[in-house]
Each structure stands twice: as C-alpha cells, then as structure tokens.
Amino acid sequence: MSPQPQAAVGAPLSRVDGRLKVTGKALYAAEFDVDGAVHAVIVDASIGRGRITSIDTRDAEKHAGVLRVISHRNAPKLPYRDNAGSNNPPGRRLRVFQDDRVLFHGQPVAVVVATTLEAAQHGASLVEVEYDAAQPSTDLHEAEPGEPTTYARGDADAGLRDAAVRLDLTYQLARNHHNPMEPHATIARWDGNKVTVWDKTQWVMGTRDEIAAVFDLPADAVRVISPFVGGGFGSGLRCWPHTIVAALAARETKRPVKLVLSRRQMYFGTGFRPSYEYRLRLGSDRRGRLSAAIHGIDAETSSYETFTEGVMAPGQMLYSMPHVSQTYRQVPLDVNTPIWMRGPGFASASFVIESAMDELAHRLGVDPIELRRRNEPSEDEAKNLPFSTRRLRECYTVGAREFGWDRRNPRTRSTREGDWLVGMGMAAGVYDPGRFPAQARARLDADGTAVVEAATTDMGPGTYTSQTQVAADALGLTMRTVTFRLGDSLYPQTGPHGGSSTMASVGSAVVDACNQVRQQAIKLAVEDERSPLRGVPADEVVVRNGRLHVKGNPARGETYRSLLARHNRSHLEARGSYTGPPTPERDSYYAYNATFAEVAVDATLGLVRVRRMLGVYDAGRIISPKLAESQAIGGIVGGIGTALLEHTVTDRHDGRIVNANLADYLVPVNADVPEVRAIYLDGEDNAGNALGVKGLGEVVQVGVAAAIGNAVFNATGRRVRELPITAEALL
C-alpha cells in the first residue's frame, strides 16, 4: 500500500484511548458540561395508533423546576426540508410535535423541560394525554405487504421442480434491538441561529444535515460533536426524533437542553433489526449440488417509512446455482422504523440459508462443510464479476482444524454428558462491506508531531487507534506522536461509521492525506541544498520515527523537526480523500467467515448453553489485530444473543413493547460466554482499496446464529426454525 515501513499497522497495540476509558474520563454525549444546561424528558404515546384528543400539562407546569412543556399544541411548525443523501428510508419521516397523529406506541407526544433531571422526569409523569385510540397493526403475518423487490436468474420454478432433492422451509426471526450500553442522548445549545449538538451518533455529518433540514438551516449553522459513542451496532446511523426534540426544546426555552433517552425509550425512540418470515425452497441433486432456490422474504417496516437492508445478496452469491428467484416484501406496521443492526440483512438471511444448508447436508448424509465446498462458486453469479478475494474454503479448512470438527459425530443426539446433549455446528458468513467517499486532514507540526482529523466516529471498534496506526506509518511517525481526532462535523467529511466501511473509506483518506504531507516534506528536503537528502529521488526517501532517510541507508537523512525548523515552517498540511469504489464495479467485494459452535442442551430442561465458539475470517488486511480480535469475539457474542436470547416482544393489543428493558430483553451476560476464539486469515484484498482491508465489524456476526442452531440440531436432533431458540422449543 505504501513505500513506507509498516511499524504500527498490523501490530497488536492497545487502544490509544484506553486510559481515558478505564479512568472514566472519556466523555460521552450526555456528559459534556454545557453551561446552563437544563433537562428534557420525552412523554411517549401510550397507544399504538390514533389521535391525541387532549393534553393537560397544568400539573406538570406547576411542579417546581419545570420550565416548559412542548407538544403539538404549542410547538412551532418545523420546515422538515427533504434531506437527500441521508439515511432516512423512503417515506415521510416522523415529524415531532407537528400534528395530533400517533403512529406507534411510544412516539414522542410532548417534552418536559426543567431545571433538574428529577423535576423533568416527574413533570413528564404528570402530563395527562388523552387519545382516540385505534387498533394498531403490529403482526408481520397479519398485515398487507408492500410492493416486492425481486431478483431472478434462470428458471427457479422449473429448476426446483426438476431437482432430485427439495426442501421447503420457513423460518421466523425475532425483532432485535441494538441496546448499546450508552442510551442515545443529545445536548443542544443555540447561539443565535446556530446550533451546537453533542449527540450519540455514528454519523456526525448525517445528524448535522438532518438538523439543518428539519430547521431549514444552512449546514454550516449546525455543529455536531460526538467524540465517544458508547456502542451503536447501527442504532446511531440516522438522526432520531429525540435529537430534533432536544434542539427544538433548546430553541424554545432559550437554554441548552440535555435529553437522554431512558432504556425503555431506546426500544421505540431508535430503530431495530426487523423481524422476518423467510421461506426458502431449495433444490439440489443427490450429491448436494444446488440447482435452484426460491426465497420468499417478508420483513417489518413502519407505516411511514420503507426500510430495506441487504437481505437478498447472500441468496444470490453465497453458493453456486443456476436458478434463483427472490421476493423481498416490506410489511408496513404501526411500529417505528427499523434501522440496520450489525450484519444487517446478511445476518438474517444467513440464519436461513445456513440452517437450510445444514438441513440439506443432514438429509443427504454429507458433511456440512463438504456440502458447502461442493457449491463454492468460481465467480459472483449475480454480478457476473470475479471475486476480489474469496477465501471461504480456507476458512473452512482452518476452522475445521482448529475447532476439532473431526470430533463431531454426524449422528444427532449421539453425544451425551450427564444431563447434557452436546453438539457441533458450523455456518458460513458473508458481508458486503461499505465504501463511502471520505476526506481527512493531516497536519505535521514543527515539533514533529502530527494531528489527523476526519468527521468519523468510534462506537467501539477502535477508530482512534486504527486510524492512528495507519496515519503513523504513512507519516513515518510513532503512535505516540500522532493524534487522530474524530467526532466533530467541523472535521473533513466522511460517510457513516457503519457497514464495516470506516477503515476502507476513512482509512484510505487518512493515508492519502498523510502520504501528501510526507511527500511535501520529502520534496522540501530533496530540493533543499542544506538537507542531507538533497538530490535524492523522492521515491527513494522513507520516513521512520520522524526521520527522513534514504531507503536502505538510514544514516543519510534528517528529522521532520530539523527540516521544518530550517524552512521556518510551522507545519505542513494536506487534505486527503477517498472517492469510493470504482464504478462500474470491477469485482465482487465481500468479507467472509466460517463460524463454529459447540453447544450443550439440557436433555430434559431444554436449556441451551454455548460451550465453545470459533470464527475464522477472510476480512482482508488486519490493521489492528488486538482490536480486531475483540470485535470478532463481540460479534460472536452478539450472535449468541440473536440465536438464544434476543426477542423484542410487542403486545398486539396496543402495540406496547412489553420487554423494553434489560431485565426482560435478554442479551448475553458474562456467564453465557465461555470460550470464544477468532482467527483472521493472513492476507489482503488489494482490489478493494489501497489499504487492502475488507472491513470486519459486520461479518463477524453473520452466520453465528445458524452455527448455534445447527449445533443444537446436532446435539438434539431437533431443528428449530425460529429465533431465538428457547427452552420451550426443545422440551
């Protein structure tokens, strides 16, 4: 990627912001000490659909400390300009306090602003709202789907009809909520017609643009700051209504306003991974060569926006087969709008496809890995493009070896340890990593240190660290002398921090900016007669530890400091960019994995406990191995949740989410997670970007649920086609 020596990239470094995080000094959105800030608490609709008939705010307003109650009765009309290029799905976005309509249970209907948090919370509980309630529609199976998106190649009906072996399987996938540990929060402060917003977001530019659109402001009138994000997994990929509420409340009260969603409000104040019903019909020959697949995919969306995600791609490209047809329908319900959640679409599709492959393997008596090998495509059969890199076979080989796959007994219910039935399962995973245009700025100061900036964020993968690694090597500096800054919309523009795009996109822009700065310095040196490097061809100069020298001759050179000092330059600076992937695409660019699970199922009580997990990843070059390992382990833990625990439950009578808290919506706890291992295949994908990375934050969760479900089948002989897999299915 670079003529520069790679000292930081690829090294198992600890996080550069680790010390801040372990000492409690990293500041998250709600923690900025904004002078004079008052507190806002949202009042949520307690019906699932209908109209507000009255709002009585008298008691709330009487409570000491309450400054204002804002609802549709007294809120100003907000422009809600269109916001092209945003992450808002097609439709008409929810407009806060603009009319009396309630579109889903929990929709914001008022906000109470008070001088203390206690007063605001109490005030919110004193607002009496009356409704004309209608019966909400919240059941995926009982509502009318919208227009389908379709895909077809070959003749799937004929292909299936002619297949020697046919499966017809329907899977139900529960709704999942991201539940980042940090609840979404916003502090908004107006200075005249400009507003500064400290927000939990995965995209400061997106939040900036949405606020500008809603209030009809120029983009530069809005500044969004988000240096630390306490988890996201997708929940911060768009600007949610509460951020607008905070800005509105601040404008109306002329005070900075802090608004933090309660954990309960997180379940309808932000999005979720939609529930699915996914019917898959699969045809193969007797050796397991696939010939046809028909995918019928129904997913929930809201009544006001049509949310889609990449659920169709795996069915088109993961395995070789001539005949495929797909129908993907969004079913509008009286719920809030979903949003991408870790491995969006792919994780859901992979549960279905990879469970079905396991069913087919069992039916045919073929090893599940062997079945997958037999269907490995030589090119992307949907795009008719070569793969940039696809090393799934290697993932299988390494995974099987490291996991001890040969110890798996293909006969179900054959391994018993006391009360426990033990089984192994595996699944393949794939994800289409994002690549978005991005910019970055690098500045090398006279003291030999550098600052690099981009308006990206760090929700946990370690953007601060990995971008510093990339920048340090490109500049030829040590980690210690480079500071990477992010989380401010005043920095150079980037796309959203999601879709496994950040390293490929922002990293490429950072490298570009740093390369330019380094080249400026080299040019300065080789053209400077006082420099020991005078006359050396620029491409023969490298920089290491802040010292420029001739490649292969470290003795001949000088430091950035001496160079800049002699030239009386306070700094060198450059702006770098990444323009996104080539169009049209020249190759098929995906990240892959093979995930292995060993589970124990209590033979009589039906409890499933994960014993071991292993993921093997083809994710291109790994910039920061220590952090990448953490991310992979975390993705597997997320997948354990999806497989065995997570299920947002809606009461069909009134659209209420009945488990909107962390005691009832179960995510894995420490005791649920024993041995988890992650292995990244060495190598890089140079077709995708200059860094050779593919992105890994999403793919690590794809396939996990299927691997666990397949292990449950191997252990028990019971095939559960509904997520999460709970005791009642296994009794």
């Binding site: 372990v22 001088t115 980042p180």
Partner: protein, 216 residues
C-alpha cells in the same frame, strides 16, 4: 436540585441526623384515593397517603435534604432533592461521569461503584441515604497517574470496546476480587454477570480480572 457547598463554608453539624428534614414538616392524612389514581398496597404499609390539602401547594417543590459523604476521599456536603440517585448525584452534580447510566434500573451494572467498600448499583441508591458513606468511583481508583492494576489489565487485555460499561465492569471487578470470587474462570463469569457488555468483551474481562486477582 443539588447545590454543593464548599467544605470550609459548612458549619459543623449541630447534631446527629441533621441531614434529614424534620418529619413534622408534612402532615399526612390517610386516604385510599391516591395520587394519580394508583393505589399501591405492596410494601410494608397498606395504603397510600396524600398531603394535607392545606399543604398541597408545597407539593410542587420536592423535599430536599442536607447530606455529607465522602467521594473518592473528598468529603462533600450537599443539599439533594430526595429523589436524586447516587448515580445522578455523581453525574449531574459532581461532574463525575465515570459511573454510567445504562438502564437506571439495576439491570446492567454500568453504574457500579463502591459504597463503604462494597460494589452496588448507584442507580438504585438514593443519595439521601448516604449520610457519612464512603463512595469510590472509577475516578478515584487510580493512584495519581498510576492506574489500578485492574485498570491496567483492562487496557492490556483489551477488555472493552466502546468503553461505556467499562467503569462499571472495573468497579465490579474490584469488588469481585475483594470478595474472593475469582477461583476459576467460571466463578469470575458468574460473579461478573451483573455487568452487561454489549460489545461482548466478556472473554477478555474475565482474563483481566483473573490477571489482577492472580497478582494479588
């Protein structure tokens, strides 16, 4: 509302229990048609009680109490709204935002701090009850620039990603080690299960606790 009074400006407490408001400030009349229409019979008493109507106008001001406690070795005297949790006292009034609010309901552990040496959920702890208590938060764990061994172990093991649950994990881990529940990885897992990490760093959290306990 809580206003912090500099220690030097506070007159010494006149008598024990001064921190509590006199109960006579309020007159109670028994009734079963309670606030907001909810009649709650759980708990130790069998009814809910309304303020005397004559005093009802005072109801829009929430009772507050004077309180002295030690936080990270510094004695602080404050007046707190009785409703204020220790977590909100730390975060909203003391600018100690290390303890995190993840659920505000005792279901995630992000708010874990030590009170009188024991790990507790500060979100479910009313500040007003902490007269004389010693509170240790993540900000008080390091010895100057020298990180606590568990903090160091978290960095070395990369036992966190987003960092939001981390202060609670570390305070809980300190408690776990002190309680001696570190005999095996299984024991650590169970006794650290009151702290949810959504980034899924459990494997490394266990290693960090193990490493630190082993050093003791």
């Amino acid at each position: 509302m809580s206003t912090e009074v500099p220690e030097s400006a506070v007159p010494p407490p006149a008598e024990a229990g001064e921190s509590s408001p006199a109960p006579s400030r309020r007159t109670f009349i028994a009734t079963t048609t309670a606030v907001g229409g909810a009649v709650v019979a759980g708990g130790v008493i069998g009814g809910t009680y309304l303020l005397d109507p004559e005093e009802a106008s005072a109801a829009d001001a929430s009772p507050s109490s004077r309180l002295s406690l030690t936080v990270n070795g510094t004695r602080r005297t404050v007046t707190v709204d009785n409703r204020t949790s220790l977590l909100d006292l730390l975060r909203e009034h003391f600018e100690l935002t290390g303890a995190k609010k993840g659920c505000n309901a005792g279901a995630c552990g992000a708010c874990t701090v030590l009170v009188d040496g024991q790990r507790v959920n500060s979100c479910l702890t009313l500040a007003v009850r902490l007269e004389g208590a010693e509170v240790t938060t993540i900000e008080g764990l390091a010895n100057g620039a020298q990180l606590h061994p568990l903090q160091q172990a978290f960095v070395e093991q990369d036992a966190f990603q987003c960092g939001y649950c981390t202060p609670g994990q570390i305070m809980s881990g300190v408690g776990c080690i002190k309680e001696g529940h570190t005999g095996s990885p299984e024991e650590i897992r169970e006794w650290m299960s009151g702290n949810i990490c959504r980034c899924g760093c459990y494997v490394k959290i266990v290693r960090a606790v193990e490493q630190t306990a082993g050093r003791k």
